[in-house]
Symmetry: C2
Subunit: 252 residues, 2 copies
């Protein structure tokens, strides 16, 4: 619990950031070896979550940020009536829990979509380290900012695009994130259900299902339940803004 750099034991190192397969992706990206060690020290524990298990709920006290190490999660909100709106899906290397930064308690919920491994970064400790390591602080800010931009993009997609464009945009975004993971960006293995995708996009499950079928007919995808292969990335990209004039574009 010393504010100064902590000596690491081997055990710590084994599950630590510098040895993590994702270490180019999450917080430590672009951080030097020395500073990486100090970040390592803040990683409290690796947590396993089974499919359906909650990482945090609305109202939970905020005490840590979390990095997805393997698996995936969805975060969502619920209104009084109990219906849910999915805000985002989270893949390995991505950090979640920012929603609680301001109020010190979570205003959304996070649930594992499959068996997932999570790194816990106790915030008090993280804060101490980031105050000592400016590069880390900047990196954290960059990640939060990306989160904000992503939420704006989600609003834009929901508000201005048609169902097929939304699906294309969603798949392209997933493909991009898969690629950053050095996985094959063309071979998606969807961990979320059709219901989840529909909810995320503001559609119903039948529409999502039909769109998968239609895009398969068009030769863009090859769909086999959870496994989706992008055969024609070029066509997919085109579908993100297929009919250039859908809805009113500008409110000038």
């Amino acid at each position: 619990m010393e504010p100064t750099a902590t000596v690491l034991d081997l055990n710590q190192l084994r599950r630590s950031c510098s040895s993590c397969a994702l270490h180019e992706l999450c917080l430590p990206a672009g951080i030097g070896a020395d500073d990486l060690n100090r970040l390592d020290a803040t990683v409290k524990d690796k947590r396993m979550l089974d499919r359906g298990a909650m990482l945090y709920r609305e109202g939970d006290k905020f005490d840590a940020l979390y990095v997805v190490r393997s698996g995936s999660l969805k975060s969502f909100v619920q209104n009084e009536a109990g219906d849910m709106q999915i805000l985002a899906f989270h893949l390995p290397g991505e950090i979640i829990g920012f929603d609680a930064l301001a109020s010190n308690q979570h205003v959304s919920q996070a649930e594992a979509l499959e068996r997932s491994s999570i790194c816990e970064l106790p915030y008090a400790h993280l804060q101490r380290v980031t105050s000592e390591v400016p590069a880390l602080h900047r990196q954290l800010m960059r990640v939060i900012s990306r989160e904000v931009v992503e939420e704006h993009r989600h609003l834009m997609v929901m508000g201005r695009q048609q169902a097929q464009e939304q699906m294309a945009t969603f798949l392209k975004s997933l493909a991009n994130r898969y690629q950053r993971l050095q996985r094959d960006g063309a071979a998606l293995n969807l961990s979320m259900s059709r219901y989840d995708i529909a909810n995320y996009l503001g559609l119903v499950v039948e529409t999502v299902s039909r769109l998968f079928s239609r895009m398969e007919e068009m030769g863009v995808l090859e769909v086999n339940r959870k496994s989706v292969r992008i055969l024609r990335p070029d066509l997919l990209a085109g579908l993100c803004r297929a009919d250039t004039m859908s809805k009113q574009k500008d409110a000038s």
Copy 2:
């Protein structure tokens, strides 16, 4: 530029927070007289914006938060194709500019909907004051948190509600915010165009127009161009979730 409390001159006080008609609403809410003075000192200048004038643009360097003193603004993002998505409308007493907190540059734009007066809170200075006045810091965090919750609500409205429910929700939200301003919550004076409302809700302008007419027929509203009177708040509230089963509610 001293980190310690600054002596205020009369000139400063005249346009300052403690004398501001909105001082119960924005940042200083619940802050003691002494601390209020210190916040006063951070308010740099009152800015006037004409209708259509930009407060900040995407990419602008972040150096201040802003409080709407009078008038109103919209904030929005634009994609590569140039179409816009309105994120929020901002009424007097509300603080904007948070979008730049993380990355140190704005990732959205803010434009005045009418002639508006703006308080500028240079962030460097504000930061110094909030670090000295915990109550102020907490209040700032609370405001940011409300912003996040509001964005979640927006997503929920767009994703899960029908056009009429969306409109009802939008109007009720406006009415609530008017009431906090000690204005008559039933007599709305919309500063945004029908296009803006449509864009905000992900609809087209004709739909918005028709919904105003329909709600007038139903006896809920009295609409006269920009001026909207809520005749039956009870009915309006009911419309926010009229058909309890629209769209699929849960993705469990």
